[in-house]
Amino acid sequence: MPNDALLKVEKVTKTFGPVRAVDDLSFEVRAGTITGLLGRNGAGKTTTLRMINGIFLPDTGSIELLGAREVAAVRDRVGYLPEERGLYRKMKVLEHLLFLAAIKGQPPVRARQQAEKWLERFELADKRAAKVEELSKGNQQKVQIIGALLHAPELIILDEPLSGLDPVNVVLVRGILQELRAAGKTVLLSTHMMGEAEKTVDDIVLIHLGRAVLAGGLDEVRAAYGTDTVHLAFEGDGSFLPTLPGVTRARLDTNAAELELQAGASTQALLSAAMGRLRILRFEVAAPSLEQIFIEKVGGDTLGEPAASSEEVRQ
């Protein structure tokens, strides 16, 4: 495939009054992947997703979606879960799903089959005749997610899909996202929870103050920006460990140590150096967490509310 980007965001800017919510943002989403749009609250994630869905028009820049320049042309092939949940509270669950399918152009018979299937899959089959307002927040969230999947869209855009779900449901939804990817679907999700993203996504786009500060495959990003941490358990005198080449920071206990290494430093060399002088009980290389990369990347800049104050400074 010459070009497998399903979504291209190019130099997009969106300003609300004095606030530049999205600033010259460019990124791509590869077909068949789960891409995480990461950033703090107010970083511009929701505005970006709304522009992709044609709810806002970008001030400048362009968005290409499923090969089309106009969202309108492909809107039935996109599924969208808005950040702030939107369901008619008085409608019954199944009825509501059928309505959502209908406005995505699905024929009723097929919509009903799909709705039943997904209700089953999301463990909501017994709630099909309940009114939306009678459901718990987590269950409403699941109904809304079904609404985004019901018409079998090629591209699924989920704004904070896991917020408000309990741990059991988080695992359920994560499993479903993996299934969707396996079925060849493309998912773009936003989240501010780095730990969650790590377990779910293939690619990341990290945005801060409306700009992409980091983008690429999760592993590449880790390799390029992260520093490995070595967890060590041993017998003997480990006082020499912080002085070994490549070690930038160390925490030393009687029988254990945590060593942070320089980017690119060899863990194998460290292991052999340590083995010569200590009896090693455990040696573990931990990949850097997104959290660490994120903090490293945007640093002290993130303290406090980033959106308004720092935006204004930049104007």
Binding site: N53, I55, R75, Y80, G86, L87, Y88, I103
Partner: protein, 446 residues
């Protein structure tokens, strides 16, 4: 198109399933009838029997108010023989409807002075029976052509009693004056008999229709039928949009279909609701006419006398047109407001303007061919309702009716276009309400 239907269906079902809709549909006609009939009943019947003292300066009217027993007596036994039975029957009916209890006092001197104790009594200075009014007849009533009757009451607005007493005295005085010229009592009655005016509406097809006053009433009922659902469902559209905005269902809707489809679906859905309701009301009305038809026919009341069959299709056409115009205005109100309260404030003044045809219903219905009526019935926003009023009570030139329909359609298309744009941008402008300048910019940009 399927998406429009999906929205239409959802909106329709949501409202039709509401208890308030069912209650309103079933009870609406009764409420409306009660609202219109009750004041009429209260005025004609009075809340209770009126007790009036007549102070007669001439001392010759005792026969008219032969009053100790109270029942006002308008025809003495000797006069009765001269009158036809139906007339008597009519009077008795009236006397019963306007329960009037008169007390007759012949005053020899100054009638005003003689009336004083009764006036005091009326004002409650002396207890006993409650008095509602005192009629003073001057001593020169028969001789002086400029003589006046004075009616004292605590409420000068009780014109029904006032007119009635005045009529009774006047008839007696006229009869007395004629008698003074040597005209016999039976001849006097013939001379005094009033001629009835019968209003006949002539249509272009040569039909003749009776029932002027009833036609007036029917026009009002139809106009109310036309306006009330507009305002109720207009509010419904507005409320729905505000709710969708605050619950953010709108994001899903807007990302799934063009705003024009969304708006059309919503508006048509509620138009269907309104038509359903009005249709049910009309069906109830027809049933009533069919059931009561025989009875009415026997009493000489023929509904087709003031209701031409052509009104029904005209009603549906102008209902739909008027509805769409009103609802677009409400939809804009909903789209640019963030709460229902804010929307109501914004809509208040606009709705007063939209109600102009209703405020002018009286002059338009009584003068359907006047310049005012013609002009208002051809102003785009007011045309559906005003033209319909004119159709009910008269026969406006056909080209005017066509022009009205054309103007309405053009207005609706223009407003739908503008509404869809404002709606599209307004819906997502959470936060403060836009200024007029911003609204204008949206119209151009979106």
């Amino acid at each position: 198109m399927n998406k429009v239907i999906a929205v239409l269906k959802r909106e329709y079902l949501e409202v039709v399933r509401k208890k308030s809709f069912i209650i309103m549909t079933v009870l609406g006609p009764f409420l409306m009838a009660a609202l219109m009939l009750l004041p009429m009943l209260l005025v004609t019947r009075g809340l209770e029997e009126k007790h009036v003292v007549v102070v007669d300066g001439t001392g010759q009217l005792a026969a008219v108010f032969s009053g100790a027993n109270g029942e006002a007596k308008e025809a003495s036994p000797e006069e009765l023989s001269l009158k036809d039975a139906s007339k008597l029957n009519e009077r008795n009916q009236m006397a019963k409807a306007l329960a009037l209890r008169t007390e007759y006092v012949a005053a020899s001197g100054d009638p005003r002075a003689a009336a004083q104790p009764y006036l005091d009594r009326m004002l409650g200075k002396q207890g006993k029976v409650k008095l509602d009014g005192v009629l003073v007849v001057g001593g020169d009533a028969f001789s002086n052509p400029d003589a006046e009757l004075t009616y004292f009451s605590r409420a000068a607005t009780d014109f029904v009693t006032q007119e009635r007493l005045g009529g009774m005295v006047n008839r007696a005085v006229s009869r007395g004056r004629l008698a003074a010229k040597g005209i016999a009592a039976d001849e006097a009655d013939q001379i005094l008999r009033r001629l009835k005016v019968e209003a006949i509406k002539l249509t272009r097809t040569g039909e003749e229709k009776r029932g002027g006053e009833l036609g007036f009433l029917v026009a009002f009922v139809f106009v109310a039928l036309l306006m009330i659902p507009n305002i109720i469902y207009g509010q419904e559209v507005m409320r729905g949009i505000v709710a969708e905005k605050s619950e953010r269902v709108m994001e899903i809707l807007i990302s799934s279909m063009p705003s024009m489809s969304l708006l059309s679906g919503k508006i048509l859905g509620l138009a269907a609701v309104g038509l359903t309701q009005v249709g049910i009301w009309m069906a109830m009305g027809s049933l009533l006419v069919i059931y009561a038809g025989t009875g009415l026919a026997m009493s000489g009341f023929d509904p087709t006398q003031f209701l031409s069959v052509g009104i029904i299709p005209a009603f549906f056409v102008f209902y739909v047109l008027g509805y769409l115009i009103y609802v677009c205005v409400y939809a804009v109100g909903g789209a640019i407001s963030n709460s229902e309260k804010e929307a109501q404030q914004f809509m208040g003044p606009l709705i007063m303007v939209m109600m102009i045809p209703w405020f002018l219903a009286m002059p338009i219905i009584s003068n359907p061919e006047s310049t005012l009526a013609t002009a208002i019935s051809l102003i785009p926003v007011f045309t559906p309702i005003t033209m319909f009023m004119r159709i009910v009570v008269s026969e406006p030139p056909f080209w005017q009716v066509l022009l009205s329909v054309g103007l309405s359609v053009a207005t609706i298309v223009a407003m739908l276009w503008a509404t869809a744009k404002i709606f599209r941008v307004g819906i997502l402008s959470y936060g403060k309400r836009p200024t007029a300048v911003e609204l204008w910019r949206w119209l151009k940009v979106a």
